[in-house]
Symmetry: D2
Subunit: 123 residues, 4 copies
């Protein structure tokens, strides 16, 4: 039975890696490259779609997308595992920083995108 826990997921994948003598190749450096590859495969599903089409992909394609997302998550947890980083805690800390960085009152009218606020003096 599986839960929503990333620690359980990484434990499982780490065992898979150790059982195959791959530990030596799983440096954070190499794992970031593996993540790059999976993100490329994910992007491939969306590159020629319109914004609207990207929400309405058919079931077969959704399964393929889910598999790429899964690969990305596995490598993210592996990198975090190798470096002793608590990934979900880090994500909540980042949410807090974002909530402060983009004050909600700045985005109440119209449609100001993140980069139009953050980079407003840049371009």
């Amino acid at each position: 039975m599986t839960t929503d826990s990333l620690k359980e997921l990484d434990k499982r994948h780490k065992q898979f890696v150790d059982d195959r003598n791959w530990q030596q190749h799983q440096s954070p450096k190499n794992l970031t490259m593996a993540l790059t590859v999976e993100v490329g495969e994910l992007v491939e599903h969306f590159m020629w779609l319109s914004r609207e089409e990207s929400w309405k992909i058919e079931e077969k394609k959704k399964d393929a997308v889910a598999e790429e997302l899964a690969d990305c998550l596995i490598y993210l947890t592996r990198i975090s595992g190798e470096l002793g980083i608590d990934l979900v805690a880090a994500a909540h800390e980042k949410c807090e920083r974002n909530e402060r960085k983009y004050p909600v009152e700045e985005f109440q009218e119209g449609y100001r995108r993140p980069h139009e606020y953050k980079d407003k003096d840049k371009y």
Copy 2:
């Protein structure tokens, strides 16, 4: 109080997005691009390091890496959220497929890397 749950994380980030009128920009297509950007920022920390150095990064750099990993996780959960994909379940399914694809007995001697098995007839 935070737990290890990705559903809680995505709920939080989705609220952050909705509060700022960004929902319309959060198409799966755009979110895969945002993920690409964050992965690039992650890779930047490791590109000139040796394999060994990539395991031993100093604390300040580790914090910066944790922030990039966090951004990646946030976008991964957002893509999954927009498409109605259970990301952790998908990752466990992928683990199962991997466990079947790379039989443990094929990797007991020497150091055969994934691509040397998978692509053994390719090159």
Copy 3:
């Protein structure tokens, strides 16, 4: 005076690298990571834009985009240089393969995108 030649460009960048004792770090492996980083920076300029907006970026942003494209080209030529690959010749060979793979008569009616032809039996 500069020409349109990539060989000249790579010679110049190679000299820059050698003058700074960086040659040892310019393995094809590391250079593909550097390319990943630059592509991420390029994508950042376009991720929240609509298709139409992406054609009409203002001059200041275009300069920033040109700089990212330049970085990508520099790393592409460096990887090719390290591996002894003639990049432009390889691109023309790829064009030839593409011209055969996607026969022009298959795309005369309607708007069939590459993946709708290539993957027509996939989804």
Copy 4:
């Protein structure tokens, strides 16, 4: 007969695109995604290799790598073409900026990598 010219390459690829009614999909936004995909495919060839191995790939693999590099170059020139950017000129300008940014006298002793100079106050 082909030369080392990127303008000629882009003209050829643009013709290929126009002949297949794909022009509408070739927004700079979409093309940056296509570039991401190709870079992922390139990285895949190097992710589990050591630095040294990445210089000594066998001929068959080198052909596959050349094809990925070619795809990257094609999309780089397409993005530049769509935006009216002179890619090689931009690369030479970037070389000039780099030459000023990393003064040669700062790198004469030992092995100081770019990020150790640029980020020296960062970590």
